[in-house]
C-alpha cells in the first residue's frame, strides 16, 4: 500500500519510459535543465507520500462521501498509495486525544509540507462554539493547521462560499474559510463537488503543483465554463424546445429544462462534461434542472424552479457562435416571458421580497 508515485504509475500501466518522459517534462515545466531529471526521478520513486489533514467544520459530510465515490483514481489508491491521509475524523481509526495528537505530530514533522483539506466552515457567533471539537472551537483548530500547511483546499460550497448554513439569515454566522485565513485557498465548490474533480485536484497538486485558478480561486480546468456551455440538451435550448412542466411530452423527449428552473446557464462547473458517478448521469441528464450548487449563495437566488433571467450572452467558443443567433432570439423570448411572470409574482406577493432577490 505504501507505494511511491512511481509504483502507482506503473500499476496504472504507465511504462518506465513514459515515466522518465513525464519526469523530464516536469523538469522543463519547472524551468529546470535536463540535469535535474534524475533528481525528479529519484524523488518520485522514493519520496514519502504527501500528508493530508482533512478537517470538518459545519457541514453534512457530502464532500467526503463524494470523494470516496471516485473511480479514477480509485479512492483506495488515493488514500493508501498517493497521499497519506493522516487525519480525517470521518474515516480515521483513532478518536479523542489520540486523534488530536496527530495534528501536533503533523505540525512537528511536516511543518509547511502538508496539504490542508477543509470540508465545512467555521461559525463565528457564540465565540465559535456552534462547532467545537476536543473542547475548543473549530475555528481555532482550522486557523492553527492553516498556519502550518503548504496548500489549503476548500472542499465544496460550505468551505468555498458558506453554503446552506450560511443561507439567510445565517444564524451561526458561518463563513467560508478564506474569510478567516490569510493564505491562498483552492476553492473546489459544489454540493458536493464531483468525485473525480476532487481526486483530480489532489493528483494535480501532487503531479504538477498548484493548478491555475480563476479570479475567485477555482481551478480553471474544471470551473471555467458553464453547465449550459457543454450541455447535451443545449441544441433543444437553441431550437426553442423546452420542458414546460415536469413529466410532459418535452420531458420524455429530453428537451431543455430552462423553463422549469435549470440554473445551467449561470453555473460554472464540470457536470455536463465530466458527469457524475463514472459519467452515469448528471442532474439535467436525469430530468431535473441544475440547482446551481457550485455557485456562491445559490440558496438565496430564488426558487430552484424559477427561470434564470440573467443569462449572459457570452460566447466562449466557435461552437457557441454557430448557434448564437438562434439562441439569442429564443433566449430573448424566454427571458421576456420570465420577466413577465416575475412581475406577476412580485404583484402577487404584494411587496414581499421577490424570489429573485432571494430568501423569500
Amino acid at each position: 500500500m505504501a507505494d511511491t508515485f512511481y509504483d502507482v504509475m506503473r500499476r496504472q500501466g504507465i511504462s518506465r519510459r513514459s515515466f522518465l518522459k513525464f519526469c523530464s517534462l516536469t523538469a522543463t515545466s519547472l524551468g529546470l535543465g535536463p540535469a535535474f531529471v534524475p533528481q525528479i526521478v529519484h524523488a518520485m520513486e522514493t519520496k514519502p507520500r504527501t500528508p493530508v489533514i482533512w478537517l470538518h467544520g459545519l457541514e453534512c459530510t457530502c464532500c467526503t462521501e463524494s470523494f470516496i465515490r471516485s473511480a479514477h483514481p480509485l479512492v483506495s489508491d488515493v488514500v493508501l498509495s498517493m497521499i497519506s491521509l493522516d487525519y480525517d475524523d470521518t474515516i480515521m481509526a483513532a478518536a479523542g486525544h489520540q486523534a488530536e495528537a496527530i495534528l501536533e505530530q503533523t505540525i512537528e514533522k511536516y511543518d509547511g509540507q502538508f496539504v490542508l483539506a477543509c470540508e465545512g466552515n467555521p461559525p463565528l457567533n457564540e465565540d465559535g462554539m456552534y462547532c467545537f471539537q476536543g473542547g475548543i472551537p473549530y475555528l481555532e483548530k482550522l486557523k492553527k493547521m492553516a498556519d502550518h500547511a503548504a496548500h489549503i483546499i476548500a472542499w465544496g460550497s460550505c468551505a468555498s462560499w458558506g453554503c446552506v448554513q450560511a443561507a439567510k439569515p445565517n444564524p451561526t454566522q458561518a463563513v467560508p474559510i478564506h474569510k478567516v485565513l490569510n493564505k491562498p485557498v483552492i476553492k473546489v465548490p459544489g454540493c458536493p463537488p464531483i468525485p473525480e474533480v476532487m481526486t483530480g485536484i489532489v493528483t494535480y497538486l501532487l503531479t504538477f503543483g498548484l493548478p491555475e485558478l480563476d479570479r475567485q480561486g477555482r481551478p480553471k480546468m474544471f470551473y471555467s465554463q458553464r453547465i449550459h456551455d457543454k450541455c447535451y440538451r443545449r441544441p433543444h435550448f437553441d431550437a426553442g424546445q423546452f420542458v414546460e412542466k415536469f413529466d410532459d411530452e418535452g420531458a420524455r423527449k429530453g428537451y431543455c429544462l430552462y423553463k422549469v428552473g435549470c440554473k445551467g446557464p449561470t453555473t460554472y462547473n464540470a457536470c455536463s462534461t465530466t458527469r457524475w458517478n463514472e459519467a452515469v448521469s448528471f442532474p439535467i441528464g436525469s430530468g431535473h434542472g441544475c440547482i446551481g450548487c457550485s455557485e456562491d449563495a445559490f440558496w438565496d437566488k430564488g426558487s430552484f424552479y424559477d427561470r434564470v433571467t440573467d443569462i449572459q450572452p457570452q460566447i466562449e467558443s466557435t461552437a457557441d457562435r454557430v448557434g448564437g443567433t438562434l439562441a439569442a432570439v429564443t433566449g430573448a423570448a424566454v427571458v421576456a416571458h420570465a420577466a413577465a411572470s416575475a412581475i406577476k409574482r412580485a404583484r402577487d406577493t404584494k411587496g414581499a421580497k421577490t424570489t429573485e432577490k432571494g430568501g423569500a
Binding site: M1, T90, M92, V164, A251, R252, C271, F282
Partner: protein, 596 residues
C-alpha cells in the same frame, strides 16, 4: 451529583472522568464523557452534540417545493432521506397523490441508500472497532484464503490475492506512514480476532470501498448525482420513455438494464461478503455482551417503504411501525406523528430555551432559541472545555420523548418490532443468526445485536432493490409511464393554509419532518431525526438516552483507549449533522406557529 437510579441503571459520576472528543468515524461532531470506577467499569455516561447548524429558520418564508434540497443538505451520508421526508411532508400537507412509478422509484432509491450506507458503515466506520489491522500482518495468506473460502463462495479469495494484500499491507506499515490507521488501538486486548480473520477483513474493507460507489449509481440514474440526488414534490423528475423519439434522454431500456445489473452485483456483494464477515466476526465476540442500553425497553419505528403508493398506513409499509415502552415486549403501541401528546421535544439539558421552561413541545409548535451556557460544575472555560457538567445544559441535541420516554431508533428497533409483530421477513433471519451463533434471543439486545440487525437489514434492502426494479419494469410494461403529478405544481392551486408531516425510516432510524404552509410559503418547519433520539441528553426527570444507557456498565480493557466506547457508539451509526441541524437567529425567540 449523587448517585441515582433511572430506567434500571445506577448512575454514579464519582469515579475517574474520561473524555473522548472527537468521536471519529461518524458523521458530524460528537463528544462522550464517562466516569469509570476503580475496575474501569463505566458508571456514568454523557453524550454531547458539539455542533449546531440546522435549517428550520432558514427554511421559513421559502417555497415549499424547494425544501427537499435544503433539508437534503442536513446530511450527506444518509443522502436523500431528508429530501424524501420533505417531499412527503409537502405532499401530505397539500394532499398531492404521486404516481405509482414515482413511489416505486423512491422505494428503489431509498433501498439503494440502505444497501450502500449500511455497507460503508460496517466496513469503514465500524469494522476497525473489531478488526486489528496490525495483527493482520501476522496472518498466513494461505490460511486466510482457506478461512475466506470456508465461509463464502466469493471469488476474490485465492491464496494469491491474500499474499498480494499481505505484502501491500506490510509495505504500508513499514513505511511508517499509517495514514487513517495512525495512533489507533492496535494490540488492545479487547481485539479478539485471529490474524487470518483480521487480514480477510482488511481485504474486504478495501473491496467494499471500491464497490460501494457502484451501488449509488442507481440514485444517479434517477436523481442525476450522488451524493445529493434530485427529488421533487409530486413524484420524480426522471421521465420514462422506452419506445419513442427522445428515449435516450429518459429512463429507457439501457438505464433499466444498468439498474438491474447493479442490483444483482449489490445482492452478491452483501450476501457473499458482508453477511459472512459479520457472522465470522460476531462468532469471536459472543461473550462481549455490553451495549444493550434501552434496546430491550423503549423502541420506536415509524415504518417505511410504502408498497401501495400514497398509503402510509402500517399495512402498506414493508418496514414495521410501532413502539415498545417500559420493557413491555408484549404490547406494540400505535404511532401517530400528528398526535401532539405522543412526540415532544424537551430542552432542559440542551443549549436552548423555551418560552415556558420545562415544557415539552410537539414539532408543530416547536421553538428553537439557542442559549449556550455551561453549568457550574464545568472544568475549563467557555472555549476550552475540559469536562462538561451534565446536571446543567450540555448538548446541542434536543431531547425528544415518545409519551415521555427516551427511545432507541434504528435497525435494531425495526427488527425487534418486526420480530414482535411476527413478521417472517424480520423474525426468520434473526432466529437463524441466533441459532447459527448458538445464542439466546436476549443476545440481540447488545451492541453486537445492533450491528447484526444492520447487516440483516442491508441484505433485506438489497433484495428489495430487486423487487422494486421488477415492479418498475412491470408497471412500464403495463403501459404506465407517469412519473410526476403536477396538477398542484403551481402554488396558486394551494390552500391558504396547510400543514402536514412526512416520515421516513432512515438507515439510522425514525425521521420526521413537520411543515406548516401559509400563503404558499413555509411558515414553520421542524425535523426530529434519528440521532436526536439516540444521542439525546437527559430530561428533567434525569432519564438517559440510548447512547448514554448503552455505555453504562461496560468494562474497559485499557482506561485511556476508548475502544469499547467507540464500539457501542458506532453500533448506532451516529449522524450529528442530522441531530443538531436546528437553527435560529441568535438569542431571538422564534415564532412558534400555533395552527390550532
Amino acid at each position: 451529583m449523587a448517585a441515582y437510579v433511572t430506567q434500571g441503571f445506577e448512575l454514579d459520576n464519582s469515579g475517574k472522568r474520561v473524555v473522548v472528543d472527537p468521536i471519529c468515524r461518524i458523521e458530524g461532531h460528537l463528544r462522550i464523557e464517562v466516569n469509570l470506577d476503580d475496575r474501569n467499569v463505566i458508571r456514568n455516561a454523557v453524550s454531547t452534540g458539539t455542533m449546531w447548524r440546522g435549517l428550520e429558520v432558514i427554511l421559513k418564508g421559502r417555497d415549499p417545493r424547494d425544501a427537499w434540497a435544503f433539508t437534503e443538505r442536513i446530511c450527506g451520508v444518509c443522502t436523500g432521506v431528508h429530501a424524501l421526508a420533505s417531499v412527503r411532508a409537502v405532499e401530505n400537507a397539500l394532499k398531492i397523490q404521486i404516481p405509482n412509478n414515482a413511489n416505486v422509484i423512491r422505494n428503489l432509491m431509498h433501498a439503494t441508500l440502505y444497501a450502500q450506507d449500511h455497507l460503508v458503515h460496517f466496513y469503514h466506520l465500524h469494522a476497525l472497532d473489531w478488526v486489528d489491522v496490525v495483527s493482520a500482518l501476522s496472518a498466513d495468506p494461505k490460511k486466510t484464503s482457506e478461512l475466506a473460502q470456508s465461509i463464502s463462495s466469493w471469488p476474490m479469495s485465492s491464496p494469491g490475492y491474500y499474499r498480494d494484500l499481505h505484502s501491500r499491507l506490510a509495505k504500508f506499515v513499514e513505511s511508517g506512514q499509517l495514514g487513517p490507521f495512525s495512533n489507533a488501538y492496535w494490540g488492545n486486548p479487547a481485539y479478539k480476532l485471529p490474524p487470518e480473520a483480521n487480514l480477510m477483513a482488511v481485504g474486504h474493507y478495501l473491496q467494499a470501498l471500491d464497490f460501494q460507489k457502484e451501488i449509488v449509481k442507481i440514485q444517479t440514474i434517477f436523481g442525476g448525482k450522488n451524493p445529493h440526488p434530485n427529488w421533487m414534490v409530486g413524484g420524480m423528475p426522471c421521465s420514462i420513455n422506452v419506445n419513442e423519439t427522445g428515449a435516450v434522454g429518459a429512463i429507457n431500456m439501457e438505464r433499466l438494464n444498468q439498474v438491474s445489473k447493479i442490483v444483482d452485483d449489490t445482492i452478491a456483494f452483501i450476501d457473499n461478503v458482508y453477511i459472512p464477515d459479520l457472522l465470522a466476526i460476531a462468532s469471536f465476540y459472543k461473550t462481549w455482551t455490553y451495549g444493550g442500553g434501552i434496546s430491550s425497553k423503549s423502541l420506536l419505528s415509524y415504518g417505511d417503504f410504502p408498497e401501495i403508493a400514497n398509503d402510509y398506513s402500517a399495512s402498506s409499509l414493508a418496514f414495521p411501525r410501532g413502539a415498545v415502552l417500559n420493557g413491555d415486549l408484549s404490547t406494540i403501541h400505535e404511532v401517530d406523528l400528528d398526535d401532539e401528546s405522543q412526540i415532544q421535544e424537551f430542552v432542559d439539558h440542551s443549549w436552548y430555551t423555551y418560552a415556558e421552561a420545562g415544557k415539552g413541545l410537539h414539532p408543530y409548535n416547536g421553538e428553537t432559541n439557542p442559549k449556550f451556557e455551561l453549568g457550574q460544575g464545568v472544568k475549563g472555560t467557555k472555549t476550552r472545555i475540559e469536562n462538561l457538567d451534565e446536571s446543567a445544559k450540555y448538548s446541542w441535541v434536543k431531547a425528544p420523548r415518545f409519551k415521555g420516554s427516551p427511545m432507541e431508533v434504528g435497525p435494531l428497533a425495526r427488527y425487534v418490532i418486526g420480530y414482535l409483530q411476527g413478521k417472517p421477513e424480520f423474525k426468520e433471519p434473526v432466529d437463524k443468526v441466533l441459532t447459527d451463533l448458538g445464542l439466546p434471543l436476549e443476545a440481540i439486545f447488545t451492541t453486537l445485536g445492533r450491528t447484526a440487525a444492520r447487516g440483516l437489514e442491508c441484505s433485506w434492502a438489497a433484495h428489495k432493490m430487486r423487487q422494486y426494479t421488477d415492479e418498475l419494469i412491470a408497471n412500464i410494461k403495463a403501459g404506465d409511464t407517469a412519473c410526476a403529478n403536477v396538477d398542484m405544481w403551481e402554488p396558486s392551486t394551494w390552500p391558504k393554509q396547510a400543514r402536514g408531516h412526512g416520515f421516513v425510516e432512515a438507515p439510522r432510524g425514525a425521521l420526521g419532518h413537520w411543515i406548516v404552509i401559509e400563503n404558499q410559503k413555509i411558515a414553520n418547519y421542524q425535523c426530529i431525526v434519528p440521532t436526536t433520539w439516540n444521542a439525546t441528553p437527559r430530561d428533567a426527570q434525569g432519564q438517559i438516552g440510548a447512547y448514554e444507557a448503552a455505555l453504562m456498565d461496560t468494562k474497559m480493557e485499557v482506561a485511556d483507549q476508548p475502544l469499547e466506547i467507540l464500539r457501542t457508539i458506532h453500533s448506532f451509526d451516529p449522524c450529528l449533522a442530522c441531530a443538531t441541524h436546528v437553527m435560529s437567529p441568535e438569542g431571538k425567540e422564534l415564532t412558534s406557529v400555533k395552527v390550532r
